[in-house]
Symmetry: C2
């Protein structure tokens, strides 16, 4: 169930109902590929008001394996997260090293990087895996083309994705999201969106973007796709992203995002703040006794100075990665709250202009 | 101020008063060499009831530097720890790679591994550094011999340590602890302990042990030294250790311990539990849904299964290192509480026999 609660140009706020809570859109999901948002405890996530995250069903299938997850009563209990959980299907791992063997009309064959064993993921099997994992939202098995992709390869990605979309089980208690492909070709994105629009998905992912193409191209593809997808279903731009990319996409009608942006940056010593990105390794922070972000009330900002964080990052201390990841995730959650408020007040355009000065 | 509150054979409980709290002995200090107990936040330490930790004044002098610490109002505020803090002098870094240049009657010359700059640490300068860091207890600058050390080298370590002990400032608001050296030579340990016993230190470290010598030799050296040191001053066995080594040493009159044992083991995937050491990497934990330690109420044990921890450790996830370090530190704190209770009830010998079956 998805209800739109406010609109501001192409942007909208809404509520997506899941078995683990009513989620206010637009929202951002921290990434917990292997059943952990890197460096963060469930209590850390709670302290940041994280209501939903995304994990990866292919990774979980390989490790720890379905039996382990089922014995725990599902992923929520395994990782002790009580919010909503999306799972990706593994289609994206086609373009990641170490997993992909081949694809045909029937699905994708993956190889375990752990023991070399091969597994065929059909659309039905992908859904079964995600059901057994117990996530709240399953992403369909999709065919993700690399960037750059030839027109033929992109066409194939749409063709296979549509075939698999038809077969992917829908109308289950677990929500099922379709995924639009088509690389950077306008006509293929259009076709893919049209193919899926009339299928009974609970929402739609936009896949195969944010993998190296120019920003303008990504935004253009999003625009085409959201113009075709049903308005009353949530749209999820997969793998995005940074504050500006999120605003641009929200203005084009996107409701859901996920990205390793806050956690990867955190582990590498970079903080996302209301004044811009800060690389804490820089010598300028050595004597800076101010908090990371004066407008933030997360544990990191309430307790530590930039000087201390600089020290930890310089010394490669895990605590530094942890404290920056914590702040960055909190920042993204607060940023999305702000976006929702700006939409409700009809001020998103103005907010975007402010943000363009900062990021 | 140190008051003994109970005795059981050679073991005793007591209270050491510091500027940051009354510390019940025997106690164990987690190690925060670089102003962080590796992977743990101050809130984590509080959740484990950590009342005191030890940092390293040589490391802190080099990074972040005294100016940074002073600008924060000292180490406590820098790292946001409100308990008591001991600092080691850097004498131990004589036998660690990358720091030691040379020693003479006047002190030790260290080289910064960061920029190659050399610094001469005299006894007076060591105390000054520790005062400026703002720790509650300063360890004297000592001459630490490697193991194995020739008799001559061990004799030199005692000779220099005694010289420096005389010069090390005492009777300051910050407590000053002497350090007994002498390697594994009974007569030299005896001489060192006698040399220092009549100086007005607030407590005594026993240094240069737990660096490779056989356990029996370590225990023998401790016995000799505690037999000579004044009974009304706390004794601190530096760099120890494991549960059994701690019990053995407590029975020989030691009051204070520190070791990277819980944090290093945690980062390497090993848990200290009431049933013994568990290497979480082992396949036997893949399907083990029990908590790490049924007798523990730390965050890790209250929330996660061995199966989940096994998964995190296998995947080299930082959260796994964090959760095991947290448990291990909590375990050591609880273990010391138990030792204090057993001493008060006159049951330490019996407790030791139980523990010998486990560790």
């Amino acid at each position: 169930m998805f209800n739109i609660t406010a609109e501001d140009g192409g942007a909208r706020t809404g509520i997506l109902s899941t078995a683990h809570g009513e989620l206010r859109t637009p929202f951002f999901m921290p990434v917990a590929t292997k059943a952990t948002v890197k460096t963060l405890t469930p209590d850390d996530l709670k302290s940041c008001d994280v209501q939903v995250l995304i994990s990866n069903s292919l990774h979980l299938f390989l490790r720890p394996g379905l039996e382990v997850l089922e014995a725990h009563g599902g992923l929520h209990r395994f990782m002790r997260f009580n919010g909503a959980i999306f799972t990706d299907s593994g289609g994206f791992q086609m373009i990641r090293k170490g997993f992909f063997v081949g694809a045909d009309r029937d699905g994708i064959t993956f190889r375990s990087p752990y023991d070399g064993k091969k597994y065929k993921f059909t659309p039905e099997f992908s859904k079964e895996v995600q059901m057994r994992i117990g996530s709240d939202v399953a992403m369909m098995l999709d065919y993700c083309a690399e960037y750059p992709a030839s027109y033929d390869e992109a066409k194939k990605s749409v063709y296979f994705t549509t075939l698999w979309a038809e077969r992917f089980p829908k109308n289950t208690e677990q929500l099922s999201f379709g995924i639009v492909q088509g690389s950077v070709y306008e006509d293929l994105r259009e076709k893919s969106a049209k193919d899926l629009a009339n299928m009974d998905f609970d929402g739609y992912g936009i896949g195969g973007l944010s993998i190296g193409e120019p920003k303008e191209v990504m935004h253009r593809m999003v625009e085409i796709v959201t113009g075709i997808l049903p308005e009353d279903k949530p749209r999820y731009l997969m793998g995005v992203g940074s504050p500006l990319d999120i605003i641009e996409s929200v203005m084009r009608g996107v409701d859901i995002f996920d990205s390793v942006f806050p956690t990867r940056n955190g582990r590498h010593g970079t903080a996302i703040t209301s004044r811009g990105m800060l690389n804490l390794r820089k010598a300028e922070f050595k004597n800076d006794e101010s908090p990371l972000d004066e407008d933030c009330s997360c544990y990191t900002c309430e307790n530590f100075t930039r000087s201390y964080l600089h020290h930890l990052i310089r010394e490669k201390e895990i605590l530094g990665m942890h404290l920056l990841s914590l702040h960055n995730v909190c920042f993204m959650i607060e940023f999305m709250k702000r976006i929702r408020k700006e939409i409700e007040q009809g001020n998103l355009e103005k907010f975007k202009k402010e943000m363009e000065k900062i990021y």
